[in-house]
Amino acid sequence: MQLTDTHCHIQDINEPMWASAGELSAEILVTRASAASVTRLVCVGTTVSDSAKAIEFVRGRDNIWASIGVHPHDAKGGKQTLHALAELVTDPVAQKIVAVGECGLDYHYNLSPKTDQIAALRFQIELALQYDLPLIFHVRDALDDFWPIFDSYKNLRGVMHSFTDTPTNLHKALERGLYIGVNGITTFKNNHAQQAMVQHIPLQKLLLETDAPFLTPVPLRGKVNEPANVMLVAKFLANLRDESVAEIAKHTTYNAQTLFNL
């Protein structure tokens, strides 16, 4: 059995957000992931410097790839930041860049002005189209603005990362051919709406992720999340959806390989 963590941030292993994990190295994380049958990882950048770090991190490491992007929280950097992101790409295949993102809109906090978020989203969509790469979308409380932007382009491919919205918006995402990323949020005990929603995701469109170091699944709350915990998400979904873990692993790995060309 093989699983894929399609969304983690382990290139940031030396950043403060990993500090509570204690003595931990990237090698330990990768080894533990492999021991839990998580054999492929996509490291996702959230800023220009973080994306550069992701490219550097995946170099020379087998079965680990990078995605470059500017998170909507960090979209206030403007054109200069976005051009710097584009300049990171020289040869996507050689650099093992398999996607653009995480990019999108987040109106929950509005840590960047909406106009900057929209400009950054459009820039990154066009960057993805230029290199024929899929997109990793982060959208919170902003789907009414997101769909018209998405629909103004053709031939977009991608995933709605950490999708926690309504069945109606799930349907809209599926209609547009998007994959749906599911992580530890679904395992939270009182997340009944989310648990009802994920049962409607067809296996052919399901992707697994951790978003490590964030969103540690139950029962490991209180610890730092890591790619090995994709197995916990897979097991939870298998039980919830009355499917076997093997079946979920087979489909989600195939989906990840198809979308990201892993």
Binding site: P16, M17, A19, S20, A21, H71, H73, D106, H108, Y109, L111, H138, R140, D141, S162, T164, I185, F188, K189, N190, H192, D211, P213, F214, L215, R221, G222, K223, V224
Partner: protein, 117 residues
């Protein structure tokens, strides 16, 4: 491999009884009387008027009823019981803040944030 046993064989009796059921000759279709199927426009439906009379009387009685006789009860809405907030554990405050910001509020609903000891 084909297994004939998988298909139950019907008894001759049941086949015969089914054949009988399908035989139109076994059913007695009443002969249609063309004259009876057509609406007799000349008929005088006096009962129609008889039915209408009490309806009109009832309406008149309703209209005559003083408005203050009818007591309207306000609609009682019952709120669904809110489940107990979930305890969402964090290793430390830095981890809690980082996750809440990164996830954009997706972890906020009905949860208490608790720092693990």
């Amino acid at each position: 491999m084909f297994q004939a046993e998988a298909f139950p064989v019907e008894s001759q009796t049941s086949l015969e009884s089914r054949a009988e059921m399908r035989d139109p000759a076994q059913f007695q279709f009443p002969e249609l009387d063309q004259n009876q199927t057509e609406i007799d426009q000349s008929a005088n439906f006096t009962h129609h008027g008889d039915l209408q009379a009490p309806v009109e009387a009832n309406r008149a009685a309703q209209l005559a009823t003083p408005a203050n006789v009818v007591e309207l009860h306000p609609i009682q809405t019952v709120e669904a019981p809110q489940p107990e907030p979930e305890q969402l554990y964090y290793a430390d405050e830095a981890q809690m803040k980082a996750e809440v910001v990164h996830a954009g509020g997706a972890v906020m609903a009905n949860r208490n944030f608790v720092l693990a000891a």
